[in-house]
């Protein structure tokens, strides 16, 4: 039996995006759609929150999908190969998504958000709902999991910025197509960059369709202790880690979220530069973009 936290599988979707299948049987059993984990790659590394993109209770694994943008995620891209292990994986964290009695659901995912959308989409389908998927990517090279999505969707719209796959346009275009085709949508689920979730919430607001978004604020402990992940929901301050990560998209102050996501931008830049230098010094080239 493999040791806990070991990487059993890895799938590189693009030069910067990849999926890791991590062995943690107890976590695979406990995980519910919408929940996240915090991982630590190595001693002294950050605690990084990542939404659970899939779980396989028979294999005892959870799947995480990562975009290598900063120092920590690039380190993960380099070091977390099959057979390697995380130092720590803790979770599942956050309140599971409510898979209620919605009969007709549109699941909207953008970029990397497509991955954590999957467990919710599958749960709605297994719950008997009519499920439509709208997934957006920069171009066909960044496309992933389209077959996985197709097998659980009654309708699937793929959107790319340049039209190299599916329709040309943003996910809101795909969503509008779904809304105009179906006037009985009970719920829209949106996961992706904040700007995308904001656009989705604005698209559904005039139609008064319930819209659930999954937020990804910066956090340290993930257990409600530090308050770094606080978000503005209507007039209230909530903590993404223990009050979320799912919130009513029509209540979320996305501008506030985007501001707060930038609060360590300078530090992140510094860490990345420093790490790339150390990679060059060690003769490791993969620290650079587009290996």
């Amino acid at each position: 039996m493999p040791q806990n936290l070991k990487i059993l599988g890895r799938d590189d979707f693009s030069p910067s995006t990849f999926a890791l299948e991590v062995y943690h049987p107890q976590l695979a059993i406990a995980a519910r759609p919408g929940q996240f984990v915090i991982v630590i790659v190595s001693r002294g590394a950050e605690r990084i929150p990542l939404t659970i993109a899939d779980f396989d209770r028979e294999k005892g694994t959870i799947t995480l999908v990562i975009q290598a943008v900063g120092q920590s995620t690039k380190q993960m891209q380099d070091e977390m190969v099959v057979g390697a292990s995380f130092l720590a994986v803790v979770g599942p964290m956050g309140i599971p998504s409510k898979i209620g009695h919605a009969k007709k659901v549109v699941c909207v995912g953008g970029g990397l958000g497509v991955a954590p959308l999957f467990p919710q989409l599958r749960a709605h389908k297994e719950n008997g709902a009519y499920v439509m998927g709208v997934v957006g990517f920069r171009n066909e090279n960044f496309l992933f999991w389209e077959k996985k999505f197709a097998s659980y969707c009654d309708e699937l719209i793929i959107c790319t910025d340049d039209g190299s796959a599916g329709i040309k346009g943003l996910v809101t275009l795909g969503l509008e197509q779904s809304i105009s085709k179906h006037d009985d949508i009970d719920e829209v689920v949106a996961i992706g960059p904040p700007i995308m979730m904001k656009a989705v919430a604005e698209t559904t607001r005039p139609h008064a369709i319930k819209t659930v978004v999954s937020l990804n604020p910066i956090m340290v402990d993930g257990t409600g202790m530090c308050g770094g992940c606080r978000v503005r929901i209507g007039e209230e301050t909530k903590f993404g880690c223990v009050d979320g990560p799912d919130f009513d998209g029509h209540q979320v102050d996305f501008d506030d979220l985007m501001t707060r996501l930038r609060r360590f931008a300078a530090d992140e830049h510094l860490a990345l530069e420093r790490w790339q230098e150390s990679c060059l010094a060690k003769g490791v080239t993969s620290g650079k973009e587009n290996r």
Binding site: E46, A88, P92, G224, C226, G228, R230, D256, T259, D267
Partner: protein, 506 residues
């Protein structure tokens, strides 16, 4: 081998009149290091101070101690130079003398009611306790009775002071104890909250290693409630009882404008980044600190003092304390305020923030404050601060730290059916029993934010209740292991590695 003590018939006239001072690092030196302020007694200091105890018969100090340490007995042992004996007296009541000697508010507890204090300064009980606690760590003493296993399995949720205290008592009674900790290191608030200059990491490490020597299993990275639930622990995982000691968490904010700006953090966030994640070493470590140069901390409790003094040590140019009442009402220990003052923290009493201002790009640059005056007493008996109209002013600050208390952490409420009180804390009876059979709770998750020693007291009380619940009446000792379970020459603790220069000799 008990030596004769000097002055066996002590009276208030014959004892040393002055409290023995403790050697301290000068403020201008310590404000740039993480070594302790008070470097600890030397043996001559401890002997002298021990002779100030009147060994009075009514022992008000014992009643003043939340865990009921037989204080005159351990002090007498110090006078007799029987230090191991002094440790054993401490160890029968307190799991963590090296910790409690440092962080207990003795001035409100044992020392407040000391008979000597009627006339002179009270006996420095905390300093003596710390001295013995440190000696135990250095010498490798431990109170490990090697009880025969009684077959009961107890789960403890949270590895802070309440969880540690309960785990130690239950393990000593022969239970198989597992502590679950959500973070990647054990110790709870002792690790992420209290900074090293108040409680060196080596002391926390030693006490945790003491627990593991007792046979306690510590599982980090385990979020109980989410990875598995309390009912699962009882029904599926074979635990006979569970003790919940998850702490309060969930820091409060004020809801004023500008709170979302970069640079506005809770004290918990700043302290966790600094203490648990070593963010002071960024970018050598992965976690940034995110602190600027002009730091304003809102609140005047112990957490506020910790946050301010950490900020100073991590390079803040100016550190300000913003508190809406006066120094007299400040909830921090007087000693902590005094230390912060000495280190250069600027106190702004009778001042409340009303808004945080930004630079237009999401970063805090200043705060707007208003002056206050004290009005009529409120529910807490303290005079209510009232804003003085027209006294608003702007104040430069790029880092604003909230240290105004915490609310109950919602995870237990979300994942169990336990009865909670109106503030979301777990409801228990006096002994810590919750509404669920076999489930006990104690520490901040029951009381709201309090102190390390109160949490330990709650942990010990609940451990006693769990023992009664499980029907554990007597503990079978394994006498072959020697009186303390320690073979001659066997070291139990990891050695306390005091940073060089910490040994102070005058």
């Amino acid at each position: 081998m008990v030596r004769k003590i000097a002055n066996p018939h002590r009276t208030i006239r014959t004892i040393p009149q002055d409290r023995t001072p403790i050697p301290e690092q000068p403020p201008e030196v310590r404000r740039s290091n993480f070594l302790e302020v008070a470097l600890g007694y030397r043996s001559q200091d401890a002997t002298l101070e021990s002779e100030r105890c009147l060994l009075c018969t009514d022992k008000p100090c014992v009643a003043g101690c939340p865990v009921g340490i037989d204080i005159p007995a351990f002090i007498l042992k110090i006078s007799e130079k029987d230090y191991r004996g002094a440790y054993d007296v401490l160890a029968t009541s307190s799991l963590l003398p090296a910790i409690c000697g440092r962080v207990c508010p003795q001035e409100d507890q044992c020392e407040a009611v000391c008979t000597v204090a009627d006339t002179l300064e009270p006996v420095a009980i905390g300093r003596l306790e710390r001295w013995i606690g440190d000696m135990a760590i250095e010498e490798g003493w431990a109170s490990i009775p090697y009880s025969r296993p009684n077959g009961f399995k107890v789960g403890v949720v949270g590895s802070g002071p309440a969880g540690m205290a309960a785990a130690a008592d239950l393990a000593k009674a022969g239970c198989e104890v597992t502590i679950y900790e959500a973070l990647h290191e054990a110790g709870g608030v002792l690790r992420y909250g209290i900074p090293a200059f108040r409680l060196p990491n080596a002391v926390v490490d030693a006490e945790i290693s003491n627990l593991t020597k007792l046979g306690v299993q510590i599982e980090c990275n385990t979020l109980v409630g989410r990875l598995f639930t309390i009912p699962q622990m009882l029904n599926e995982m074979g635990f006979d009882a569970v003790f919940l000691a998850t702490g309060a968490g969930y820091p409060r904010f004020m809801g004023i404008r500008g709170e979302s700006l970069a640079g506005v953090v809770s004290a918990n966030e700043l302290l966790t980044r600094a203490n648990l994640m070593d963010a002071g070493d960024f970018p050598q470590v992965g976690t940034p600190l995110g602190m600027g140069e002009e730091v304003a901390v809102i609140g005047a409790g112990n957490t506020a003092m910790d946050a301010m003094r950490v900020a100073l040590r991590l390079g803040a140019k100016n550190v300000h304390c913003i508190y809406r009442r006066t120094k007299e009402e400040a909830p921090a220990r007087a000693e902590e305020i005094h230390h912060a003052e000495e280190e250069g923290v600027q106190f702004h009493w009778l001042t409340a923030p009303i808004e945080i201002l930004g630079n237009g790009d999401g970063r805090a640059t200043a705060m707007r404050n208003i002056r206050m005056e004290l009005g009529e007493p409120d529910d807490s008996g303290r005079r209510r601060p009232v804003p003085i109209p027209g006294s608003e002013y702007e104040f430069r600050a790029d880092t604003i730290v909230y240290a105004i208390g915490t609310n109950a952490n919602p995870i237990m409420g979300q994942t169990t059916n336990l009865d909670l009180n109106e503030w979301g804390y777990v409801k228990t009876d006096e002994e810590g029993a919750t509404s669920m059979a076999g489930v006990y709770a104690g520490g901040d998750i029951v009381s709201g934010a309090a102190t390390v020693i109160l949490a330990m007291g709650a942990g010990r009380k609940a451990a006693g209740a769990i023992k009664r619940y499980l029907g554990i009446r007597s503990v079978e000792r394994d006498e072959t292991r020697g009186p303390y379970g320690v073979r001659p020459g066997e070291k139990i603790h990891t050695r306390l590695m005091m940073p060089s220069g910490a040994k102070y000799d005058t």
